[in-house]
């Protein structure tokens, strides 16, 4: 599998993105992902948008996330922390407690970002780089799938 070159900056194919957004809206699909060469575009539906039967929502816990990742923010130097397992995403160690991290926090490599529960086992997910939390992509107590981006971090400059 060819890895995406993180330094490559193609002009955004806005026309294509527009078409995909339309297609997602009309088809009722949960997500459309298109890849051409090294550019990958993923368009996900937002729940509550009419003409989207929940039938086709992916189980990926993207409920509540409307996302236009075109191409992915990783190209802007952001680093994605992805889910290593299928499970339920928790932002805090226990209900009622403070979240491990908030947007804007600075984290260091090895610091716990969240918990993913899979088959009653709590997996602590840690930052693999030091930097700033720019975005939290998964919803608390929602399902996440393997390889799903959970956080975007802006790595510290060395």
């Amino acid at each position: 599998m060819p890895e995406m070159d993180e330094n490559r900056r193609d002009p955004l194919p806005l026309r294509e993105v527009e078409l995909l957004v339309e297609l997602v809206r009309e088809s009722g699909m949960g997500e459309i992902r298109v890849r051409q060469g090294e550019t990958e575009i993923s368009v996900r539906a937002k729940p509550g948008v009419p003409a989207t039967p929940p039938a086709n929502q992916t189980a990926s816990g993207t409920q509540g996330v409307s996302e236009l990742a075109a191409p992915s923010p990783e190209m802007d130097g952001l680093h994605a922390v992805r889910s290593p397992v299928v499970g339920t995403f928790y932002r805090a160690p226990a209900p009622g407690e403070d979240a491990y991290v908030e947007v804007g926090d600075t984290v260091s490599a090895g610091q716990t970002l969240c918990i993913i529960e899979a088959m009653k086992l709590m997996n602590e997910i840690v930052a693999d780089v030091s930097g700033e939390v720019v975005e939290i992509l998964a919803e608390n107590a929602g399902g996440v799938e393997y390889d799903q981006p959970l956080f975007y971090l802006r790595p510290d400059e060395r």
């Binding site: 299928v86 088959m119 086992l121 799938e145």
Partner: protein, 459 residues
């Protein structure tokens, strides 16, 4: 009827199950690895969950990920398809424990029939004929020699936990027993984590016939007319047909009764296949597969029964719905496995981009496939690209239909087994019918003007 089924598989069989779900109004959940992001089963299911990276051990064999995906999506049942976790008793047991219905028999039946030596004993207890051989596993080479003295050579040593020819040795004479016993046992241990082996009389010229069975929780048991799966290469089936050409009616009757006796004695539920060898007018039980098989469409074509739909009814606690007359064959059906392998280069596996995909159509033609033009065949999984099934009023007509459909079938971007199938259909012995499992081993493939031809050699 159950509400939602998680399909724990990929490729054509995942599509087959999703299609059956859709027709029954059952919601489907696909699971997929990151190598299958562009796969049709991921696209066509109502929901889908990415369960892991490309290697099957981390995705399609990853029990925690699959169970988690079922919990997250609220699935009621898991259909394992064939391969991967389909005959994994531990997986079935975990499903049972977490309250997920496993589409198949209970875990103890899977475990029992998954052990070849135990399955043999179960057949003996049910009064089903088995190949002469050892009673249960052989603990030493002396025990093999004792069986050899009793039933004569050649013998075949087989792995209890085995399948696909692994941990298997043919022994022509007593002098070869020691080396063969150690070799088979070591291979069985390495491949299946269980080195126990058993011994059977080696039948050189035999046909592989099998009986599709279905049983529900209300005590109804159905056995279908046999499939003949004698066209094999290295124990991998390539062509299956039903009914078996030239099989006497009383043998068919005997196979169906024996299979019904076996699954009756097991208290079996769901779909399964009882496999036999047939040689010199006699049949012997070899093993039972406690799952849906690749070649199930052959039976579907001549019976009109949707086997996957019946599986879903059984797991829902409903009764089987088999129309009257479904159990006597309607015409003849043949299935061809189109694999991503190059028959001209010793069946070298092929991967890469499918540039052109144009499956055949017309009367009596069915194609089960996950291919489309632009699809990338990943290197991580098995080589099955498509199953072509043809159905016509008799064998001769279905061979003609097969030739026509194979000729129409266009796949570009890689070599496939399509030309091999054409060559088999042109073979005189095959056309006569009733060939043995040595059919392909006895022949050389010759290339002739871009076409392949089978030439028999006599050794």
């Amino acid at each position: 009827m159950i509400g939602k089924v998680l399909v724990a598989n990929r490729g054509e069989i995942a599509l087959r199950i999703i299609r059956a779900c859709r027709e029954l109004g059952v919601r489907s959940v696909a699971v997929y690895s990151t190598a299958d992001r562009d796969s049709l089963h991921h696209e066509l299911a109502d929901e889908s969950v990415c369960i892991g990276p490309p290697p099957a051990v981390s995705s399609y064999l990853n029990i925690p990920a699959i169970i988690s995906a079922a919990e997250l999506t609220g699935a009621d049942a898991v259909h394992p398809g064939y391969g991967f976790l389909a005959e994994n008793a531990r997986f079935a047991e975990i499903c049972e424990r977490v309250g997920l219905k496993f589409v198949g028999p209970d875990s103890s039946t899977i475990a029992r029939m998954g052990d070849k030596a135990e399955a043999r004993e179960a057949a003996v207890e049910a009064g089903v004929p088995v190949t002469p051989g050892s009673q249960g596993p052989c603990e030493s080479e002396d025990e093999v020699k004792r069986v050899g003295a009793e039933i004569g050579y050649p013998l075949v040593i087989k792995a209890s936990a085995g399948g696909g020819g692994k941990g298997m040795r043919v022994v022509e004479a007593e002098a070869e027993v020691e080396a063969a016993y150690l070799g088979a046992s070591r291979e069985a241990g390495a491949n299946f984590g269980d080195g126990s082996v058993y011994v059977e009389k080696y039948l050189e010229r035999l046909r592989h016939v099998e009986i599709q069975v279905l049983a529900d929780s209300h005590g109804e048991t159905v056995t279908f007319p046999e499939r003949d799966c004698s066209i094999q290469r290295r124990y991998q089936k390539l062509i299956e047909e039903s009914p078996a050409p030239g099989l006497p009616g009383d043998v068919r009757e005997g196979l169906m009764v024996a299979s019904a006796d076996l699954i009756g004695s097991l208290g079996y539920e769901g779909a399964g296949t009882v496999e036999f060898v047939y040689a010199d007018g006699e049949f012997y039980f070899i093993e039972m597969n406690t799952r849906l098989q690749v070649e199930h469409p052959v039976t579907e074509m001549i019976s009109g029964v949707d086997i996957v739909a019946e599986q879903l009814k059984v797991v829902s606690g409903e009764r089987l719905e088999i129309p009257e007359g479904a159990l006597s064959p309607d015409g003849h059906a043949i299935e061809f496995r189109i694999n991503a392998e190059d028959p001209s280069r010793n069946f070298l596996p092929q991967t890469g981009l499918v540039e052109v995909y144009n499956p055949p159509g017309g009367p009596g033609v069915r194609v089960d496939s996950h291919l489309y033009a632009g699809y990338m065949v990943p290197p991580h999984y098995d080589s099955l690209l498509a199953k072509l099934i043809v159905h016509a009023r008799d064998r001769e007509a279905s061979i003609r239909r097969g030739l026509r459909a194979l000729d129409e079938f266009a796949v570009a971007g890689m070599e496939t087994t399509l030309p091999l199938h054409l060559a088999v259909l042109e073979d005189e012995e095959f056309r006569k019918g009733g060939v043995t499992t040595r059919f392909l081993a006895d022949r050389e493939l010759e290339s002739e003007g871009g076409l392949l031809r089978l030439v028999q050699h006599f050794s």
